[in-house]
């Protein structure tokens, strides 16, 4: 009887021998080995060529500041592309977000279809869209704006419908009880509740798009990326360094402005 109080709870053998943890580690290890075989990853190759890589980094650590006046105009173009693309994408996203919100649309089939469409749009990476739109519209900032519009449409619509699903349904019921139409209900009961959060998410998407638009030009979609590609192609790494640093400054400035505005809004 005295012994039973000292008995520790019995653990099943699965827990005692850590079957799950060892199993997952093995699976992970096998997958890592398989993928390194498949990609031909080999630390030795990298280490034997590391002097070339270091030489490249040394060149990059001496930025050619005189290049700055060349890239000022494309930098502006990058921001302009991001602003227009995000705006078009966000405006297009509003009706889709309203249709995908479960508290506004009762029809499960319609909602499911819209959501599936939005999921599909979100699977495509930005550079892939850029490659296609450059083929359609030709080299230039038009392809960039449209790429960013589609890219932000996918992202914004999901953020928007998740916001709509959190609104207070009281005003909607009030309007419904006096016989308002759907459009009136959305205009007077839904939009006022979500406008601030919409603007906040719009600014957040703008930040992401400014980052994304700096590389879009690499495939010919306008902006600073065109010069990024040119400098890399000419092995002019000190110019590449200037472009990367200038991009960093622009991104930080846009992030700062947008963070400030979002704090004011919410």
């Amino acid at each position: 009887m005295t012994n039973s109080t000292l008995d520790l709870p019995k653990r099943p053998w699965r827990q005692r021998y850590h079957v799950a943890a060892i199993g997952w580690t093995l699976v992970l290890g096998v997958l890592l080995v398989l993928s390194s075989l498949m990609t031909g990853a080999n630390l030795g190759t990298f280490l034997s060529n590391i002097d070339q890589f270091l030489a490249l980094l040394v060149q990059m650590s001496h930025p050619a500041w005189s290049y700055l006046h060349v890239i000022l105009q494309p930098l502006y173009e990058t921001i302009q592309m991001a602003i227009l693309g995000t705006t078009i994408g966000a405006v297009l996203a509003v009706p889709f977000a309203l249709l995908a919100a479960s508290n506004l649309v009762g029809n499960r089939l319609l909602r499911g279809l819209i959501r599936f469409f939005l999921d599909l749009v979100r699977t495509l990476p930005d550079l892939l869209l850029a490659a296609i739109f450059v083929a359609v519209f030709g080299i230039g900032s038009t392809a960039g704006v449209i790429t960013l519009a589609i890219f932000s449409f996918g992202m914004v619509s999901k953020l928007f419908y998740e916001v709509i699903e959190t609104i207070d349904m009281g005003p909607l019921e009030a309007l419904k009880s006096v016989g308002a139409t759907k459009v009136t209900m959305i205009w007077y009961a839904v939009l006022p509740q979500i406008l601030n959060q919409f603007v906040s998410y719009f600014l957040y998407t703008l930040e992401i798009n400014v980052r994304a638009s700096t590389v879009l030009g690499y495939l010919g979609a306008g902006g600073i990326g065109v010069y990024l590609q040119r400098s890399l192609g000419e092995f002019n790494y000190s110019a590449t360094a200037v472009i990367i640093l200038a991009t960093l400054v622009v991104v930080l400035v846009i992030d700062g402005i947008s963070n400030h505005l979002r704090r004011v809004l919410l």
Partner: protein, 271 residues
């Protein structure tokens, strides 16, 4: 004199509150006129309509023969290669990110901290390089192919995972650490018995999330020659073989959807 609404001292302040939205209208209009005025939309080629029609036709009639033809250069093997690039890049960098995270995490409330500050600067510097630039740099070092893609993904992931990991270290529950310390545990015991077990599920969750992003980037890194499905995609676009583009796009969509839902399931189980 009678005080009316118009000359009351309080309403005078209201003027700014009532009309300040006009200022915002002016600012927003200014930004948009600058944005629209600065761009040139003249570059649209005349064939845009016919090209988009043939793209649609290609998407609706994908080149099914490309899915598997046993050559090792078909869709299924290249999709597998893309997944391998993303997987190796993410999980290797997750291991490397852990020390970076401890370096950059700030656990006291002092406004400036040399160790954490320098760690955060290093992580920001790493994140500054776009993945595509990293890929080109690594192609210089190891030659074109998927190994360059692995290196680009893993270095970029260190910048992002290091930041996410260090933030979760800053916000973690320190109860378990205190318990071990009060029971007389030394620093290595606190690390292995309290800190790591507490933080492990969150680290794994962030790694899976990063894997989802890496799959997307691995599928485009091939456009600059860093292996994976991107290389045949950019060739197909350049040679205008739209049915080939269609099947590759379908492959990427299916791959991304599958990985996203798998990773979501795993992350739900974790947290």
């Amino acid at each position: 004199m009678q005080t009316t609404l118009e000359n009351h001292p309080l309403t005078h302040h209201l003027f700014w509150r009532r009309w300040h939205w006009l200022l915002w209208v002016v600012v927003v209009a200014g930004v948009y006129s600058w944005a629209i005025g600065g761009l040139h939309f003249t570059g649209i080629q005349e064939s845009a309509g016919s090209v988009s029609r043939s793209i649609l036709h290609g998407l609706l009639h994908p080149d099914w023969a490309y899915v598997y033809n046993g050559s090792g250069e078909d869709l299924s093997s290249l999709i597998l290669q893309t997944l391998a690039i993303a997987f190796l890049g993410t999980f290797v960098s997750a291991l490397i990110s852990v020390p970076f995270a401890f370096w950059a995490a700030r656990t006291d409330q002092h406004w400036a901290h040399l160790r954490s500050g320098s760690g955060k600067v290093v992580l920001t510097l790493i994140r500054t390089f776009p993945e595509i630039v990293l890929a080109i740099m690594f192609i210089k070092a190891v030659g074109p192919g998927s190994y360059a893609g692995v290196l680009a993904v893993s270095i970029h992931s260190i910048g992002m995972l290091g930041k996410l990991f260090s933030e979760s270290l800053e916000n973690m529950d320190r109860g378990a650490e205190e318990a071990i310390r009060s029971a007389g545990g030394n620093r290595s015991e606190i690390l292995t018995l309290a800190t790591l077990p507490t933080i492990f599920p969150e680290f794994i969750s962030y790694t899976l999330y990063r894997f989802e992003i890496a799959v997307r980037s691995a599928s485009i890194l091939g456009m600059v020659g860093a292996g994976g499905i991107g290389t045949p995609l950019i060739f197909a676009i350049q040679t205008r073989s739209w049915s080939r583009v269609g099947i590759i796009l379908l492959g990427i969509i299916v791959m991304v959807l599958a990985i996203d839902s798998l990773s979501e399931q795993l992350r739900k189980k974790l947290i």
